[in-house]
């Protein structure tokens, strides 16, 4: 049943998404048109059978202009000629300390040492190609990192090339999540989590400088799932955490690692007695990684997000609960359940006051940290909500500092292939727009309900609210922008990025930006866009890059 018109099977890359019937190359908003600027995808011919099982996620990485090599503690001349291969192999085994790493491999039994040595072998085999240095790489720029099938792809955000500049293939398992640390002090800034539970940390710069198709200079954590063999569901650097990062697994556990510590630790944690209880266990030895295990919930974790300042960690999962933790105190502060079904994604507002979640009830949920409850439900998606994000670069037309209302702009994408934009005006939300049942119910009192929400004790999880108790938001705009179900949305200063599950990425330039940057089609630009208030004025934060 191979049909030539089928994008899935056809060999043309990008499946010509923009040309698909009914899909436009722009979408309208009150402030002007967002114009499709670039499309990014994976090379053709990659689609093999296992492809459908992984969902593409995107991470944006901004490499600052730093002289290469950027890894101060790395072995000398790690980028030159064949020695690069050797040092990469040694580092794989354990932070450049050869003897200790080998001891570890030996001590883990036959199967482990086998996989270890095969890894070296594969690196060695590619030595002829990796002895070359990628001369096109200038050491700076903004990149997008995305996973498709068994590979991680890296594309230049600001180039019109559809195809990635770099691919890294994994032989042991499929990469499923990743995170980039804008402010990494030493070389390792990119985290990659695998379906097998394995975790790697690498230097993005080093990957870009190497022309091979394998990960170079990686630290390998949770090797072969030795600590936890559940799929990596989400991975994140702890903001301001000095190289600490957390990995959430599909079995409801989250592990804390410190990149300064040896990846080859032998951390073991006590058996979880009650799967339904939140517990934190610390590693017995201070030198080993991971340093702690947080048992969050029974069943898979789907997504995690740190607040910008790193004080809070939001976690959503299969059980439909949003849980908010005080990260340093290792305490559950608050949380609540979806209307029904799993929650799939979450994101913080820049000021840490609101959390967005999206899930299998087709709703975008706005959670207030101040009220410790759901303050609004966004109704408008026709399928599950798979990506949510606040637009931290957006400033409301009347936010001149004197207005009383606070406006937030956020976006959501879903498996309905659509992008929805929403305005959240806090003035409207403070007094819930209670929507009574049709015809009105005399027994329904608004007062009693709000009294019930007040003074919720710390650490309690709210049950699913009733449909009539939560104020509803309607989307500002809703646009079908892809042919495939979407998996994520990211706001950058100049653009909105949308990505579908199959690994096609679209970059939509904000009104006012497309004009200066894309000279190829000036006639399609709205004249009003140039009159728009420049969007540069709002705050710039690295964490908002993460969805």
């Amino acid at each position: 049943m191979i049909n030539p018109s089928n994008g899935m099977i056809s060999t043309s890359s990008a499946a010509a998404n923009a040309q698909s019937p009914g899909l436009k190359t722009y979408f309208k908003t009150p402030e002007g048109r967002y114009k499709l600027h670039y499309e990014k995808t994976h090379p053709s011919g990659l689609l093999h059978y296992a492809h459908g099982k992984t969902v593409t996620q995107v991470t944006i990485a901004n490499l600052k202009d730093k002289p290469a090599p950027s890894t101060p503690p790395a072995p000398p001349s790690s980028f030159s000629a064949s020695s690069g291969v050797r040092s990469a192999a040694a580092r794989l085994l354990g932070a450049g300390n050869g003897s200790r790493a080998l001891g570890f491999v030996g001590g883990n039994g036959g199967s482990k040492s086998l996989s270890g040595s095969s890894r070296i072998g594969s690196l060695g085999a590619s030595s002829s190609s990796s002895s070359m240095i990628n001369t096109n790489f200038d050491g700076k720029g903004t990149y997008i990192i995305f996973n498709v099938g068994d590979a991680i792809f890296i594309s230049d955000l600001n180039s019109q090339d559809k195809d990635p500049i770099k691919s890294i293939h994994f032989s042991n398992s499929n990469p499923v999540c990743h995170a980039f640390d804008q402010d990494a002090k030493d070389g390792h800034d990119l985290l990659i989590g695998l379906n097998s539970g394995d975790v790697y940390s690498v230097s993005l710069r080093q990957q870009l400088q190497d022309v091979g198709k394998k990960l170079v200079g990686a630290h390998h954590y949770n090797k072969d799932g030795s600590v936890n063999n559940g799929r990596c569901a989400s991975i994140a650097w702890v903001p301001g955490g000095d190289g600490a990062f957390v990995v959430a697994h599909a079995d409801g556990n989250l592990y804390v690692y410190e990149k300064s510590k040896d990846g080859a630790g032998d951390s073991s944690f006590p058996v979880i007695k009650d799967q339904t209880q939140f517990t934190v266990a610390h590693a017995r030895y201070s030198k080993s990684n991971p340093i702690a295990r947080w048992h969050i919930c029974q069943g898979p974790i789907n997504s995690i997000a740190f607040s910008t300042d790193g004080t809070h960690l939001a976690i959503v999962g299969r059980d439909g609960y949003l849980r908010v933790f005080d990260y340093s105190k290792e305490q559950l502060i608050c949380g609540g359940k979806s209307y029904y079904g799993a929650l799939l994604c979450c994101a913080w507002s820049m000021d840490g006051k609101y959390i967005l979640t999206g899930g299998e009830d087709d709703l975008v949920q706005v959670w207030s940290m101040e009220d410790r409850k759901v303050v609004a439900w966004g109704e408008g998606h026709n399928s599950w909500v798979s990506g949510v994000a606040f637009d931290s670069y957006w400033s409301s037309p009347n936010s001149d500092g004197t207005g009383e209302t606070v406006m937030y702009r956020f976006g959501s994408v879903g498996q309905d292939t659509r992008l929805l934009l929403w305005d959240l005006e806090m003035d409207e939300i403070v007094v819930p727009l209670r929507r009574g049942p049709p015809g009105g119910s005399p027994t329904f009192s608004t007062g009693s309900q709000s009294a019930h929400w007040d003074n919720v004790p710390v650490g309690t999880l709210q049950p699913a609210p009733s449909m009539r108790d939560v104020p509803k938001l309607s989307p500002l705009v809703a646009h079908r922008i892809h042919t495939e179900p979407l998996s994520g949305v990211i706001f950058t200063q100049e653009s909105v990025l949308s990505v579908c599950r199959e690994g096609h990425i679209k970059i939509w330039m904000r009104p006012g930006f497309s004009e200066s940057q894309s000279g190829n089609n000036p006639d399609t630009l709205l004249s009003t866009s140039s009159k728009e208030k420049p969007l540069l004025s709002s705050k710039v934060g690295s964490s908002s890059y993460r969805q």
């Binding site: 049909n3 898979p300 498996q415 042919t483």
Partner: protein, 369 residues
């Protein structure tokens, strides 16, 4: 097949649920439509329990003649009383009876699982109603259905009660829809109730069950050629019509209309659309804001690209484990594997395994009799 059984036993290990049986069903030539639905019904626990209870109470009452109800009860008893925990059973009597009863299912052609489910439930209800009537006219025999019976269906027979009989099949599967029509001239709302055993939903590409249910209950305007006769205005008027769920059923059966007649083609076509279904669901299109939560416990899956051929399998949740039933074969699957049966976002895809009938059970156990 015995080896496959022990494999499942090994996979479950000491987690094998006490007293539960996982048996594959033999295929007698294109009877997978039947097997897949029977498995879903077997793992509809309240239905199974009441059927077995009914069977236990009625077994000795004369040797009643064989019908689909006794054949089904017989089959379920056969499965539940197996010594082994896993294996294969041939639903021979049931299939023979089915073919005798309805010529539709007599051929070896590919049959529609939804049509079969519908036929079966209505047949069971008919049999129970006939029995209840017989019991009424013959007070010597006490039928257990009488306990739940409010009276015979055809109230005019006795001329006393008009209430329809509510059997345990009704108690499990029956819901009530109300069809509200509002005349746009006099604004009078006319409501007409109708009962249902399942909801047949139109589907759209890349949508969710929630969204399909919303569309099902969306307001439709009757105008032009399709006006509404308003009793108050005594004339044809423009009107607004919508379907709402007045009484949600205990077991909510959702049928996705994947087989659609395409006029241009002059034939039926299978819609492979990706329609996601959550493991938990609430109905938003109810008359009262009930917020009743449902949990998915079975999915009948159609495998194949066309309406006239293909295969049926079922996914079943039993004691928090998901099982995959493919005729004789039973396997354990991960909960996350359920999402591989949503459908295809692209029209021509190698994935042709699509969720077709969804079985949800209300988590509030109030309707259990």
């Amino acid at each position: 097949m015995g080896a496959a059984g022990s494999k499942l036993e090994k996979a479950l290990g000491d987690q094998f649920p006490e007293g539960e049986r996982y048996f594959g069903l033999e295929n007698f030539g294109n009877t997978c439509y039947c097997n897949s639905v029977l498995q879903a019904l077997y793992f509809c626990v309240p239905f199974r329990e009441q059927l077995l209870e009914y069977y236990a109470n009625n077994k000795n009452i004369g040797d009643a003649e064989e019908n689909l109800l006794t054949c089904l009860a017989d089959l379920f008893t056969q499965i539940s009383s197996q010594k082994k925990k896993t294996g294969v059973i041939a639903p021979k009597r049931f299939v023979q009876r089915l073919k005798k009863q309805n010529e539709l299912f007599r051929s070896y052609m590919h049959q529609d699982a939804h049509e079969f489910l519908n036929f079966l439930l209505n047949e069971l209800v008919d049999i129970l109603e006939k029995e209840a009537q017989a019991a009424k006219s013959d007070p010597e025999t006490s039928s257990p259905t009488e306990k739940t019976a409010n009276g015979p269906k055809n109230g005019q027979l006795n001329g006393v009660r008009k209430e329809p009989l509510v059997t345990w099949v009704h108690k499990n599967f029956q819901g009530i829809l109300t069809n509200e029509t509002k005349c746009l001239r006099c604004e009078t709302v006319t409501a007409r109730d109708e009962t249902f055993f399942d909801l047949s939903l139109d589907i759209e590409q890349n949508s969710s069950i929630t969204s399909c249910l919303k569309n099902f209950s969306s307001t439709e305007t009757l105008n032009a050629e399709d006006k509404f006769f308003c009793d108050k205005c005594c004339s044809l008027q423009e009107a607004q019509k919508r379907m709402k769920i007045k009484k949600p059923p205990h077991i909510l059966v959702i049928h996705l209309k994947r087989f659609k007649y395409i006029e241009q083609l002059g034939r039926y076509k299978k819609l492979s659309y990706r329609v996601v279904f959550p493991l938990e669901l609430k109905l938003s299109n109810t008359v009262e804001d009930a917020d009743i939560e449902y949990s998915l416990f079975a999915v009948v899956v159609h495998v194949g690209s066309g309406p006239n051929h293909g295969h049926y399998v079922s996914l079943v949740k039993s004691h928090n484990h998901w099982l995959f039933f493919d005729d004789e074969n039973v396997e354990m699957i991960d909960e996350s594997a359920v999402q591989t049966f949503f459908g295809s976002a692209q029209e021509y895809s190698s994935n042709t395994d699509h969720g077709y009938i969804l079985f949800y059970e209300s988590l509030g156990a109030s309707n259990k009799s």
